[in-house]
C-alpha cells in the first residue's frame, strides 16, 4: 500500500475506509532458502536488504507475536554514531549513513529527525574523554563539536548548570544524532521486504532448530516444520533461548531496561540530552511526550517490567538535571529485555553449526543499529563473508580475547555495559 497527498485527503473525507494492509499475510511454505527467526527491527531489515542488495527473496521471517512488538516497539528511538573503538566506530558510522537514506530507500516516512545529541560532562577528566571521543568520531568521518560551558548554557538554558554534585562543564555535540519513529521503521522495512516477495509470518513461534550431521536443515514452529538451508537467529533478548534449541550457549545474559513517557507538552527539549553521571537521558517525541530512561535494573529478567528503585533513580536524576521536569506527569513506563554481552558490543557471525547465523548482543543500543545490522547480516547470509562494516562482531572474540570492544572499560560482566 502506498500513500500520496490526494489519497490521504480523500480518505480523510470518506472515513478512512479505503486503506489496506501494508504487507501480505501468507501461510508458511514448506521450505525456504533462508529463514530469519524474529520479526523485530533487525530481522525485518535483514529481510529487506537480502532482497534489495542481493536479490534473494525465497526468504521467510518468522515472528512469534506481531512484527515490531518486541524491543523494536519499546525503545527510546535514539539514533547516533558516536562510538569510540574500532569495530564499533565504522559499523555505527555506516548504519547512520543508511539511516540518512532510509526514507528514500523505503519510500516511507520514518520521521528520522537529526535534531542533535549532546553528552554532558562535569569535570576536566570527563572533558578530556569527550575530546578523545569527539576526535575518534571525526576520524571516522562523522561529526562532533565540543561545547564549552557558555555555549552549552545558551543551547540548553533549561538545565540546572550549577548543581552542587555535578556542575555542567560542557557537552559533546553530535549534530547528526537524533531520533526516529520506531514503529514506522519496522513497518517500512516490513512493507519493503513483503513487496519484494519475502514472506513475513506472524504468530509463528520457533520451538526447535533441526540440525543433521552438524548442518541446519530447518526449524520447528507453532505452525509446523519449515525447512531451510540457512537459519538466522535474530531474537534480541530471547537469543539465548533460541540458540539453546540448537544446543548452543551464548555469551549473553538478558536484562531489563525501563523507559518512561510524560503527557504531551509544548516543544521544550529540542535535542537528545544524555546525563551519563546521573544515568539519565531524554528527548521529546513529535507528539510532545518527554521520552526518557536510565540504566538497567541490573538483574537478569524476562519480565518486560522493572522495579521501583530504578524508577525512583531515573526520576531523581532527571529532576536534578532539569528541575522543570517535576511539573510533568508521567503517563507510562515499560521495560524491554536486553541481550547483554560481556563487552557490551554485538555479535553478527556464523554459529559453530553450518548454516546457522547469529545477530544478537545489541544490549540497549540496537535501534540505531537496525539498518547497519540488517545490511551486514544480509551480506553475511548471501556471501558467507562478513560485511566490511561488521568484521569486528565475531563470536569468538570472548574466547580468544582478541578484538574485545568494551567501550566503557567495565570488564567482562554482562550487566555493566
Amino acid at each position: 500500500m502506498r500513500f500520496n497527498a490526494l489519497k490521504i485527503l480523500t480518505e480523510g473525507l470518506t472515513g478512512n475506509k479505503g486503506w489496506g494492509p501494508h504487507w501480505r499475510d501468507p501461510d508458511p511454505k514448506p521450505a525456504y532458502d533462508i529463514v530469519i527467526i524474529g520479526g523485530g527491527g533487525h530481522g525485518l531489515a535483514t529481510a529487506f536488504y537480502l532482497a534489495q542488495q542481493h536479490g534473494l527473496t525465497n526468504v521467510a521471517v518468522l515472528e512469534k507475536g506481531y512484527l515490531g512488538g518486541g524491543n523494536m516497539g519499546r525503545n527510546t528511538t535514539i539514533v547516533r554514531a558516536n562510538y569510540y573503538l574500532p569495530g564499533n566506530s565504522e559499523f555505527y558510522s555506516h548504519s547512520l549513513k543508511l539511516w540518512e537514506r532510509m526514507e528514500s530507500d523505503l519510500n516511507y516516512n520514518v520521521m528520522h529527525s537529526q535534531r542533535g545529541l549532546i553528552n554532558l560532562f562535569h569535570s576536566d577528566g570527563q572533558r578530556d574523554a569527550a575530546v578523545r571521543r569527539g576526535n575518534a568520531m571525526i576520524n571516522q568521518g562523522d561529526d562532533a563539536i565540543l561545547l564549552g560551558r557558555d555555549e552549552l548554557r545558551k543551547m540548553l538554558p533549561y538545565l540546572d548548570h550549577d548543581t552542587g554534585r555535578f556542575p555542567i562543564h560542557g557537552g559533546l555535540y553530535h549534530p547528526r544524532g537524533g531520533t526516529a519513529r520506531h514503529d514506522a521503521v519496522a513497518w517500512g522495512f516490513a512493507r519493503g521486504a513483503s513487496d519484494r516477495g519475502i514472506d513475513l509470518i506472524q504468530n509463528c513461534e520457533v520451538t526447535g532448530i533441526d540440525v543433521e550431521g552438524g548442518r541446519v536443515t530447518g526449524v520447528q514452529t507453532s505452525r509446523g516444520q519449515i525447512r531451510a538451508r540457512k537459519v538466522a537467529i535474530v531474537t534480541a533478548g530471547r537469543s539465548g533461548q533460541v540458540a539453546a534449541m540448537a544446543g548452543l550457549r551464548l555469551p549473553i545474559e538478558s536484562h531489563i531496561l525501563q523507559a518512561f513517557v510524560t503527557e504531551g507538552l509544548k516543544p521544550v527539549i529540542d535535542n537528545v540530552v544524555t546525563f551519563g553521571m546521573g544515568h539519565f537521558y531524554i528527548s521529546q517525541s513529535d507528539k510532545g511526550g518527554l521520552v526518557f530512561g536510565g540504566d538497567l535494573d541490573f538483574y537478569p529478567s524476562y519480565a518486560q517490567r522493572g522495579n521501583l528503585p530504578t524508577v525512583e533513580h531515573v526520576m531523581e536524576a532527571g529532576m536534578t538535571l532539569m528541575p522543570m521536569l517535576s511539573r510533568a506527569k508521567v503517563l507510562r513506563s515499560w521495560g524491554g529485555i536486553m541481550d547483554m554481552t560481556p563487552d557490551g558490543s554485538p555479535i553478527i557471525d556464523k554459529a559453530p553449526i553450518d548454516g546457522l547465523y547469529l545477530d544478537c548482543g545489541w544490549c540497549y543500543g540496537g535501534f540505531k543499529a537496525v539498518p547497519g545490522s540488517g545490511f551486514a547480516l544480509a551480506h553475511l547470509l548471501a556471501t558467507d563473508r562478513p560485511h566490511d562494516s561488521a568484521t569486528g562482531f565475531r563470536l569468538d572474540r570472548f574466547t580468544t580475547g582478541r578484538g574485545l570492544m568494551d567501550e566503557e572499560g567495565t570488564g567482562a560482566q554482562h550487566n555493566l555495559h
Binding site: Q241, L250, P251, F298, P300, Y302, A303, N307, T399, A412
Partner: protein
C-alpha cells in the same frame, strides 16, 4: 523485589547488588572451562541461581529467583 538476608531479614532491593550467575568456579589454567565461566550463560527464563550481595552487612548470598516473575524462592548464605 525484596530479598531476605539471613542476618538482616527482609530488606528492599535497593540494599542489594546482583553479582552474576551462580556458576561453579573452575580450577586450573585458562581454557574452555574458564571461557564458559566468564562469558557463557544459561540465561534461563525461569528458575535462576544467582550471587547477590547485601551491601549493608556485606554478606554474599545465593539466591534462587524466577526471571519471568521476579519471585524469590530461596536465599542462603553463599559460603554455607
Amino acid at each position: 523485589m525484596r530479598l531476605t538476608c539471613p542476618h538482616c531479614g527482609t530488606r528492599d532491593l535497593r540494599e542489594f547488588t546482583y553479582g552474576g550467575a551462580a556458576l561453579e568456579r573452575p580450577t586450573g589454567d585458562w581454557g574452555p572451562a574458564w571461557d564458559a565461566y566468564v562469558h557463557l550463560r544459561e540465561n534461563p527464563a525461569g528458575a535462576s541461581f544467582e550471587w547477590w550481595q547485601h551491601d549493608v552487612c556485606a554478606t554474599w548470598l545465593k539466591v534462587d529467583r524466577d526471571t519471568r516473575t521476579h519471585v524469590i524462592s530461596q536465599v542462603t548464605e553463599a559460603r554455607a
